[in-house]
Assembly symmetry: C2
Homo-oligomer: 411 residues x 2
Amino acid sequence: MAGTLPRSPLAPARFPELPVISGVRFASTAAGVRYAGRDDVMLALLAPGSTVAGVFTRSATRSAPVLDCQEKLRHTGGADAAGAAILVNSGNSNAFTGARGEQSVQAICAATALATGLPVERIFTASTGVIGERLPHDRIIAVIDDLAASLDEGAIEPAARAIMTTDTFAKGASCTVEIDGRTVSIAGIAKGSGMIAPDMATMLVYIFTDARVEQKRLQALLSELNERTFNCITVDSDTSTSDSLMLCATGAAGVDAGESESFAEALHAVMLDLAHQVVRDGEGASKFVEIRVSGAQSDAEARVHGRSIANSPLVKTAIAGEDPNWGRIVMAVGKSGAAADRDRLGIRFGDIPVAENGWVSPGYREETAAEYMKNQELVISVDLGIGDGQAVIWTCDLTHGYIDINADYRS
Amino acid sequence: MAGTLPRSPLAPARFPELPVISGVRFASTAAGVRYAGRDDVMLALLAPGSTVAGVFTRSATRSAPVLDCQEKLRHTGGADAAGAAILVNSGNSNAFTGARGEQSVQAICAATALATGLPVERIFTASTGVIGERLPHDRIIAVIDDLAASLDEGAIEPAARAIMTTDTFAKGASCTVEIDGRTVSIAGIAKGSGMIAPDMATMLVYIFTDARVEQKRLQALLSELNERTFNCITVDSDTSTSDSLMLCATGAAGVDAGESESFAEALHAVMLDLAHQVVRDGEGASKFVEIRVSGAQSDAEARVHGRSIANSPLVKTAIAGEDPNWGRIVMAVGKSGAAADRDRLGIRFGDIPVAENGWVSPGYREETAAEYMKNQELVISVDLGIGDGQAVIWTCDLTHGYIDINADYRS
């Protein structure tokens, strides 16, 4: 399926120039897991001293690789000295594959440990694609030596391509920041376009930096920023069994960024950029929508309202039809379960006041709102008027393209 | 829009023969609220002594008529003696219309009270259609005298048609039951096809019986049965601002059915039939799907799993594509938030074992499952294997038809 879909109209013009992150090298190849004629396995090798943090799906049916990564990150004490490796395949998610799924992960980790000289506890894997089919791990193991032999600092873009499934473009983002007179770089890649409603992290995302950040701090930073980036996007309200977000700090830049505000800001920018790119590649998406919620009883309640709006099929189809059907926003706020007062609710499309004080805004003209809805990027603001809670959620519309892709898509 | 859509392929062959319910008369007419060339207002008049119960949406942005009905049902002591009237319009939901919405309800209730000789406290109204536009109540008031003058015991079918919006067929169901040697009849009508994920009741549903049932008992019966019927259906996970379910007992059959098991069973059958008809008219629906959940930690958790499966866009599009993509069921169970153990989960499509013990069932053949998915009516069974909780949820698939209807539908 991958590769046959037209490129999303919301895609960036091209894959960005990403800085080399000293201390991490990449390799990709075609193992024929499911797809023909394209790379479907990637290996990233991290130099000794690198710290690794991860956030994963909370799905009760999470995949074997996710369970394995979580277990390994639980006991990272002193493991940094060895370095680490990340091995990812697309085409098969190795989810709901029972004991055989765990055997596949063990076999892949053992082979990767052998090829890289790393302890097996430092091999992290991920698999993305069809659920419930046995992973043909022999095909992956057959290419690991080749991957280990062809590692290259500059090969992050092919790695981003190798992890794609229904993605219509490869996703990358980067940022550089000065700390103590030294330049620190952050570069990340992501895949994802359907089954996107992260409950903890989303899809597959790998971010690398040459800063030095102690592991506990790295994990805290990642978890905190995840709440404001990947956990604020939704394409279709469906949460993947494989969501994995990992952040690796090689320390090669020779500067500790653990307490640096500007490092945290740069990392936030990279994560948000990648999260937005996932939405921009939402299956069938034709509009990129930012939903700003304010005046809710708490930030958590603002997020509940924002998700209710962003996941509503009726809101999403109205946006697809360029219809300023703001009554559906009212409906979505009403059903969310979070507190709302009908007569304090205010709604804006872009800068256009649409509703206030429990009714349509004075001077609202449907033609003006309809004109605004023709934009490819939309901002919908909802003010609950009952507190200080706020949230921003990003989503896309629901179009015929989503049905086309999903009514007969496998992996 | 209504009337221009093709009849749902899941529709029953014809509107059923409904028995006359002694003590209630109907009238419908065209008031031009929004639609041209069709009836859009209906009046039902209940004889003195009738009891009335109601269940309504829990939406925080519920409509002015819903708020008014709830207020009136809160204080029904002794009001039965007067009889009651129900007045419903389609085309405009009078939701999110602020103080003007309440004024419209008051004006309509006052005019209906005048035309019927009933106290205003016994006039119940409902409005369904576009949200956020002022209800042109003058057009409705202008036809009330005509409605009151043309009431007819046998006119329930045109009443069912007058309350339709995007419905592609009128919905009716009935049952008769013998109690103490007398025949008691129940007949009901419903509208609904989108914005269907009842949180309390669904859409507009009016059920009438000639049994005598004391008001508190009538309300208890309705609320209890609602949990197993309308609260177990979902078309698109969106909850309406106007959901109203009312049950009226005229007592004309001269028998008290309040404690009758067979009456409760008959009422359950009528409610379930109407609930299923709403799903069968789900916007764009091509398949009717029953999702049976068992082995959950509790009935409530079983329902959470069932709704998670039924509302998943990826499950619904796979069904539309006749793809036995059971991995998406695993995903929906995993994301639901209710307890699940990957390795105890079992899934069946009809009688076909699909997954068990955390993996695909031995002997599962995709061709057999694919053949089953071609049926217009599907049963998907999920056993959690961790408790005794069970639930049944009914839903439909997600097709291009849903996008067609909702990307440019207004009311």
